[in-house]
């Protein structure tokens, strides 16, 4: 019965939105079990695991939603790496996010639309990423915390050859630097 109680504690912890580290202590519970109660314990453990996985998924998607609200794509005009005034608040938002959590490092990806030549777009994407990085640094983010990568027109956000798709593809995209 102690184990069931422990499971209940774990489950209740999940439901109140526990920290990730508490969640990760749970798995050993599911691997143990006495012979006579094995079935129900296993069953319960499986349910517990599913709950844990779902909670983790929810947490990740909430985190992604939260990040998406902060890390918004910065859009550019055709063949331009000048940041228009209307896009600046997006970069300012990222800079305050980075200043709040000094452990975070950022990758700025530069992208282009499908028009234009392959080589020139690769260079243009680099300039777009650098322009965004420059503004982050100007806002007080340490240069060493921001990397830039150009993808030219290789990784479009939208397919299709419409002005709408092109406009969405001419972008600088923020990504948390997982390499730290």
């Amino acid at each position: 019965m102690k184990r069931i109680a422990l499971l209940l504690v774990v489950l209740s912890l999940i439901f109140v939105g526990c920290a990730q580290k508490t969640v990760q202590t749970a798995p050993p519970v599911s691997t143990t079990g006495t012979q006579d109660r094995a079935l129900s314990d296993e069953e319960r453990a499986r349910i517990a695991e599913e709950e844990l996985a779902r909670a983790e998924r929810d947490r990740l998607s909430r985190e992604q939603e939260r990040l998406a609200g902060i890390l918004k794509d910065v859009y550019f005009d055709f063949d331009s790496y000048a940041i228009s005034g209307s896009e600046l608040p997006k970069i300012e938002g990222v800079s305050s996010f980075m200043k709040q959590d000094r452990g975070i490092k950022m990758v700025v990806e530069g992208h282009c639309d499908e028009r234009g030549t392959v080589d020139y777009n690769l260079a243009l994407g680099q300039k777009r990423a650098e322009a965004v990085k420059d503004y982050l640094v100007k806002m007080g983010v340490e240069s060493s915390r921001v990397r830039t990568i150009s993808y030219g027109k290789e990784v479009p956000a939208e397919t299709g050859n419409t002005e709408e798709a092109w406009a969405k593809n001419r972008r600088a995209h923020f990504k948390i630097d997982q390499k730290g």
């Binding site: 234009g116 690769l122 150009s150 290789e154 990784v155 050859n161």
Partner: protein
Amino acid sequence: MALTLACIMILAGAADAKVYLDVYGTTFKKITIGVPEFKGERTDKSTSEMSGVLNRDLDLSGFFITAPASLIDKELLNEGIQKTEVNFNSWRSIGIDLVCKARVQVANGELSLEAFVYDTLDGSMMLAKRYKAKPSEWRRVTHRLADDIIFAATGEKGIMSSRILFTAGRRNLKEVYLSDFDGQNVTRLTNYRSITLSPSLSPNGKYLAYTSYKEGKPNLYVSDFDKKNEIFVDRSEGMKIGTAWMNNSTLVYSHTSGRTSTIYAFDVGSRSKRVLLQRDGILTSPTVAPDGSKLIFVSDMYGTPQIFSKMLPSGEVKRLTYHGNYNSAPSFSPKGDLVAFACKVGGFEVCTMNADGSNQRVLTNDGSVNDSPQFSPCGRYIIYTSMKGGVNKVNVMLFNGENKRTLRFTDFAEEQPKFAP
């Protein structure tokens, strides 16, 4: 290459007769050629397809109108291949200038092709050749015949036996491939399951340069085919793209990082690099004239991408393009007299100009994105990509923009084609 192809001239001097087509004139009239199905007791699929492949090659060359099979009646079809057996009046009466007669035989595991090309006007023999090869190499033999017919008619060999280097793939997955011109023998040269771009082979074919994202960012590498190893050219921050070789061991590439861009010459032997040019903003697509005398490149120093030249080693920078707000992707003709490039005139079109920037011509006109023009080694063709329905495909045309044809290699989108040395 493993191809053991014996090529025997039956009649010495048959090919160095008059040049039928002066293709460097402003205009020329295409020659109408009839290629009836090849003779031969063997009727297996591959050998009966040979005349079809030859017709396709001659059409692709841009110098011939190939007579449709329906034009050639039974009587003409049943003629022998020897000069005395050919009724030249009948061929001439249906508008045929040249007729190609051939016989295929397969004996003792060897394919032999005997081919004659006659001028129907006077019955003279323009070409007489015999080829021997393995039966499996029937396509290559046919391409060789096509190139020899093109040589006999125009004074220069065709491109049907050449190979094409290109990238192919889909979003986030792109590899470098090498293929025969006809789309056979497609070989994947890289397998990084990443984005690999801008491949370029050294003139001797020993080195392949490319930019790959396999380490998470675009780095520039050279593969050494002899030593089977990989050389790191540049792994610093920023975008590195190698677009051309100056000679067998020197790669020219551009690096954009921070405020500036730099064009480097990298020596594969010593693994050292030297700066050819450094500027604020974008410098890209560097390429060097075949005689090494000058560098051309793209820069946005006046606000939009334009093409510039610089005499090497230390001449002044001269602007070559003024028309429109987008001129990019330059490449030299093998003689160095012409530069092919892409310009924006509504869509992105393939253009040529003289190496000093004069005499600019727009060669494509479909309003889509045409990119990466490169001359054939003979200088008579330009290979490039054209976007159809959102997918890039490799096209080839004559250097004057005539005779555009789409080439097929893979089922993927294909980009950045080059004739392999």
